[in-house]
C-alpha cells in the first residue's frame, strides 16, 4: 500500500442551491493515472477546482504528502506542485511559448530577462516530450494539441507532483491523442500522479490505473480499472442500468429517394470532389479525423462558405445559397460544433435563444409578442426535457447537455428537412447523449435527412445507418450495414492509401 501523494478528506462544498460536493474523501497515489468520472454536475470539476486552489471548500481538508494545504489561488497550488491542464487552454495567446512556460518566474520581481537561457530551457523541456515546437513562436500560432503540450511543460517546469487533466482529448485528433497518451505514460514513469477527467470510456481503459466515480457530489467508488468492466462502471456513474444508449437503426430500403444530393463539391485548398446522397429518413454519419474537411463540407452545403465547384440538389432541385439565411428558408439547418462560441447567446434568455432564427413566427408587424415567444420556448423545454428554472433564465446557467438541447430546439423550430449536426454530443454527459441519439432517430423516422459529423467512433457506429469516411479532404468511401465497424472506419480515416 502506497502513501498517497494527494488526499482530499471530507470535502464539502455548496453553491447557493446546489450541494456540489458532500463529504468526499479520496486519495491519489504517486505514479498512477487516476481517472475521475461522473456525469456533468457530479462534482468532478468542483473537486478538482478545490484541489487546484480555484475554490475553497466549505469543510474538509486537502493534504499533499501528508501535509495540510491552505490554498488561496491556483498560483499557490502550482507552486506547491499541483498543476492543472484546463479544458479551455489558459495560455496568453500573444506571448511566445517560452514566456508562457516561465510566466510565473517572469511575473516575479523586476529583473532583466535572459531570453537565450529562457529559450534553451523551454526547448529542453519540450524536447523531453518529443515536441518540436519553437520556444520563440507565439502561442496563437500553435495547434490545440501543441498548446496542450505547452501547458503540460509549464506545469512540469514547476516540479509538479500532481497533474490534473480536464477532458484533454476533447479537441484533439486521433494522432494527437496518441501523443498525449505517450506523454502521460512518461509522466507516470517519472512518478507523477496524473488525475484524468474524461467522458470517454475507451480512454480510461487505455491509460488509467484506477478510477473513481462521483455522483451527485458523493464519491461512489474507487476501483482498479482492470477489476471493473465498462457496463458496471457506467452503472455506477448514472446510478442505474443504462439500456438503449443507441436507438434501433432504420430498416434499409433501397427505393427511398434522396433528399440531398451533393456532386463534385469542392472548396479549394480544403476538400475536393465530395459527392454523396442523403436519403429521407436516414442518419448519415461523417467520420474522419479533425481537419479532414467534414465541418467545411457541411458549412458549404448550408451557404456559410462559398463553394469553388460542384452542385447541390435538394429534392432534385438545384440549390445555390448565397448565405445561411437561404439555406434555412429551404429547410437546411446546421448545428455548430462550437456550442459556446458559435451556437448560443450565453447572456440571453432560453426563450430568446430558441426564437432567434425565426423571429417572425413570434411577431406581428415586426413586433415581438413576448407571450408567444415564451410559449414557444416552454413547448420545447417540455418536449426536449430541458432542465431549466424558466424560459427567462440565462442560457449560461444551464449545464452543457441542456445548452445543447436549447441549441437543437432553435434549429428544430424552423421545421427543417435536412439537419447537419456537427459533433452534436461533444462535452455532454451520457444521459443527454442518449436523449440526443433518440431525438436524431425520431427526426429521421419523421422523414428528415440527418447528417451526423462525429469524432467519437462508438456513436458513429451505434447511431448511423450509413457512414461516409473522410480523409484529407476527400470521401474515402461510404459504409453501410455490417460494414460499419471500428477497424473499417479507422483504416479509411487514418491510413494513407499507399
Amino acid at each position: 500500500m502506497q502513501t498517497p501523494v494527494l488526499e482530499a478528506r471530507h470535502i464539502s462544498k455548496r453553491f447557493t442551491a446546489t450541494q456540489a460536493l458532500d463529504d468526499v474523501t479520496i486519495a491519489f497515489n504517486a505514479g498512477e493515472v487516476h481517472a475521475l468520472i461522473g456525469e456533468n454536475g457530479a462534482g468532478k470539476s468542483t473537486l478538482m477546482n478545490i484541489v487546484g486552489g480555484i475554490h475553497a471548500p466549505d469543510s474538509g481538508e486537502v493534504l499533499l504528502e501528508g501535509a495540510r494545504l491552505d490554498l488561496k489561488s491556483p498560483h499557490d497550488a502550482l507552486m506547491l506542485g499541483i498543476g492543472f491542464v484546463h479544458q479551455e487552454l489558459a495560455l496568453c495567446r500573444h506571448l511566445s511559448v517560452a514566456e508562457n512556460v516561465f510566466m510565473v518566474e517572469l511575473g516575479a520581481g523586476i529583473r532583466l530577462i535572459d531570453f537565450a537561457h529562457l529559450y534553451r530551457e523551454t526547448e529542453r523541456l519540450l524536447a523531453s516530450f518529443g515536441s518540436e515546437v519553437n520556444p520563440r513562436q507565439k502561442v496563437s500560432e500553435l495547434s490545440v494539441s501543441q498548446q496542450q503540450v505547452v501547458e503540460i511543460v509549464k506545469a512540469i517546469s514547476k516540479n509538479c507532483r500532481v497533474l490534473i487533466f480536464d477532458e484533454p482529448t476533447a479537441a484533439l485528433t486521433q494522432t494527437e491523442t496518441e501523443t498525449l497518451f505517450r506523454i502521460i505514460e512518461t509522466l507516470k514513469a517519472k512518478g507523477l500522479c496524473v488525475i484524468y477527467i474524461s467522458h470517454r470510456m475507451s480512454e480510461i481503459y487505455r491509460i488509467c490505473d484506477r478510477v473513481s466515480v462521483l455522483r451527485d457530489g458523493r464519491l461512489i467508488d474507487t476501483e482498479l480499472v482492470s477489476g471493473i468492466d465498462q457496463v458496471s462502471l457506467v452503472h455506477k456513474m448514472v446510478g442505474r442500468e443504462l439500456t438503449d444508449v443507441y436507438p434501433a437503426k432504420n430498416e434499409r430500403s433501397d427505393e427511398k429517394s434522396p433528399v440531398l444530393e451533393v456532386t463534385g463539391l469542392t472548396l479549394d485548398g480544403v476538400y475536393s470532389d465530395v459527392s454523396f446522397s442523403l436519403y429521407h429518413g436516414e442518419i448519415l454519419g461523417f467520420a474522419g479525423l479533425v481537419g479532414s474537411g467534414r465541418t467545411e463540407v457541411a458549412r458549404t452545403i448550408c451557404g456559410l462558405y462559398r463553394r469553388s465547384a460542384g452542385e447541390t440538389r435538394l429534392d432534385g432541385k438545384l440549390i445555390d445559397f448565397h448565405d445561411y439565411r437561404d439555406a434555412i428558408s429551404s429547410g437546411i439547418v446546421y448545428l455548430t460544433e462550437d456550442r459556446k462560441a458559435e451556437g448560443l447567446f450565453l447572456e440571453m434568455s432560453v426563450a430568446s435563444n430558441i426564437s432567434v432564427i425565426d423571429l417572425d413566427a413570434v411577431s406581428r408587424y415586426k413586433l415581438i409578442d413576448r407571450s408567444r415567444e415564451h410559449g414557444l420556448a416552454s413547448r420545447f423545454v417540455k418536449e426536449m426535457g430541458i432542465k431549466v428554472a424558466g424560459v427567462a433564465s440565462k442560457v449560461r446557467a444551464l449545464s452543457g447537455g441542456n445548452q445543447q438541447k436549447v441549441l437543437i430546439s432553435k434549429l428544430l423550430n424552423v421545421k427543417p428537412r435536412v439537419v447537419l449536426m456537427d459533433e452534436p454530443t461533444r462535452g455532454i454527459d451520457i444521459g443527454a447523449k442518449t436523449q440526443i441519439y433518440h431525438l436524431l432517430r425520431r427526426l429521421a423516422s419523421e422523414g428528415v435527412g440527418v447528417v451526423m459529423i462525429s469524432s467519437e467512433l462508438p456513436e458513429i457506429i451505434g447511431v448511423c445507418d450509413r457512414v461516409a469516411v473522410m480523409y484529407e479532404g476527400t470521401i474515402r468511401g461510404v459504409l453501410a450495414g455490417d460494414e460499419i465497424n471500428e477497424q473499417a472506419i479507422i483504416r479509411m480515416a487514418c491510413l494513407d492509401e499507399n
Partner: protein
C-alpha cells in the same frame, strides 16, 4: 424523446419545479433582477431630487425642471444612438463631431441663401454619409469601431473647422418656424416643443428596443456575433445600419442645436462621446455589447444633468462637475459588476 428512459441530470435542484405557476414566478423574479440596474439609477435619481428639494426651494420649480430637461434633450437624441451602437457591440466616437459638422454645414448653406429646410435636409444627408463610412470601415474593411469612428470623428471635426474657418456662424436670421424647434413653447402649457419632440423619440425607441425584431437582432449580434451569423442573421447589414442610425441621430441633433442656440460652432459637442458612453453605462449598457436599454441610458444622462444642475444650485464650482461625473460612473459600474458577480454564483 419523452419515451426514452434516461437518468436524470444533476443540475441545480430547484429546477425540479416545472409547474406553470412556479415557472412564472421565477421568470418574473429574474426579470426584476434584470431590470435592477435601471432601478438603482432611478433610486439614486429620486434620492438626489428629494435631498435637493429640501436644500433648495428652487429645485422643484417648473423653471428648473424645464432647464434641466432641456439641457439634455439634444444630447439625449444621440444617447439613444450610442445605446444602440453599444448594444451591437460597437462604439461610435464620431457623434459629437457629426453634430458640429452638420450644424456648421446647415448654417453655412443657410447663410449662402439656401432654404433652411433644404439645408437641414442636406445636413442629415451628411450624417447618413458619415454613418455609412463608419459602417463601411467597420464591416467591410474590418477596422475596430473604436479606431474607425475616432478617425472619422477627427475628420468631421476638422471639416467643421475648415468650413467655418474656426469661427462660430451667427444665425440670428433663421426663420421663426425653424427656430420653433429649439426655442418654441407649446401654446399655453409652458412645455418647450423640443422636450415634447425628445420625449416622443425616446418613447418610440424604447418601445422598439423592447419589441422590434430588428433591434432584437442587434442584441443578438452584440451578445455573440458568431452565434448570430450561425442563426442566419445578416450581421454585416445590421452593424452597418447601427452606424447609419448613429449618423442620422447625430445629424438631427446637430440641426436642432443650431435652432436652439441660433448659431453653429465648430467646437460644439466636443468630447460629448465620453458623457454619452458614461450615461449608457450608468443606465446598464455594457461595452461588451448585448446589454443596455434606451430607458436606462436616458436615466443615465438625466442623472448626470440633475447632478450638474444641483451643483450649480448649490454654488459649487463648475470645476467639480467632471469629478463628480467620474465618481458616479465608477460607482454605477462597480455596482453593476458586484450584482453581476452575485448573479453568476
Amino acid at each position: 424523446m419523452a419515451k426514452v428512459e434516461v437518468p436524470p441530470e444533476h443540475t441545480a435542484p430547484d429546477t425540479s419545479a416545472s409547474t406553470g405557476g412556479a415557472r412564472m414566478s421565477i421568470g418574473k423574479r429574474l426579470r426584476i433582477l434584470g431590470g435592477f440596474r435601471e432601478a438603482t439609477t432611478l433610486v439614486i435619481m429620486i434620492l438626489i431630487c428629494v435631498v435637493m428639494s429640501i436644500i433648495s426651494p428652487y429645485f422643484m420649480t417648473a423653471n428648473n425642471i424645464r432647464t434641466t430637461v432641456l439641457s439634455f434633450s439634444i444630447n439625449g437624441l444621440v444617447v439613444i444612438a450610442m445605446t444602440v451602437v453599444l448594444i451591437s457591440g460597437g462604439i461610435d466616437l464620431s457623434v459629437g463631431a457629426v453634430m458640429a459638422l452638420v450644424g456648421v454645414i446647415t448654417g453655412s448653406l443657410f447663410l449662402a441663401k439656401v432654404n433652411i429646410w433644404i439645408a437641414a435636409f442636406a445636413g442629415v444627408g451628411i450624417g447618413v454619409v458619415i454613418g455609412t463610412l463608419n459602417g463601411f470601415f467597420v464591416t467591410r474593411v474590418g477596422l475596430s469601431p473604436f479606431i474607425a469612428t475616432l478617425a472619422m470623428g477627427n475628420i468631421a471635426r476638422g471639416a467643421s473647422y475648415v468650413i467655418s474657418r474656426g469661427m462660430p456662424l451667427p444665425l440670428q436670421s433663421l426663420p421663426p418656424d425653424f427656430k420653433y424647434i429649439g426655442r418654441g413653447m407649446i401654446g399655453g402649457t409652458g412645455i418647450p416643443f423640443l422636450i415634447l419632440l425628445f420625449a416622443i423619440v425616446v418613447i418610440a425607441f424604447d418601445f422598439l428596443s423592447r419589441r422590434s425584431t430588428i433591434i432584437r437582432r442587434i442584441y443578438y449580434v452584440g451578445s455573440s456575433e458568431k452565434a448570430a451569423r450561425f442563426s442566419g442573421i445578416n450581421v454585416t447589414r445590421l452593424r452597418m445600419g447601427v452606424y447609419i442610425l448613429a449618423g442620422v441621430l447625430g445629424a438631427i441633433a446637430g440641426v436642432f442645436s443650431i435652432s436652439r442656440f441660433n448659431s453653429a460652432t465648430p467646437y460644439y459637442a466636443d468630447g460629448v462621446e465620453m458623457i454619452l458612453i458614461s450615461a449608457c453605462v450608468i443606465g446598464g449598457a455594457s461595452l461588451n455589447g448585448g446589454e443596455g436599454t434606451i430607458f436606462g441610458s436616458i436615466l443615465g444622462i438625466a442623472l448626470l444633468a440633475v447632478i450638474q444642475g444641483s451643483l450649480i444650485l448649490m454654488d459649487v464650482s463648475v470645476y467639480w462637475q467632471q469629478l463628480v461625473t467620474g465618481l458616479i460612473l465608477l460607482i454605477a459600474v462597480s455596482l453593476d459588476f458586484l450584482t453581476h458577480r452575485k448573479k453568476k454564483q
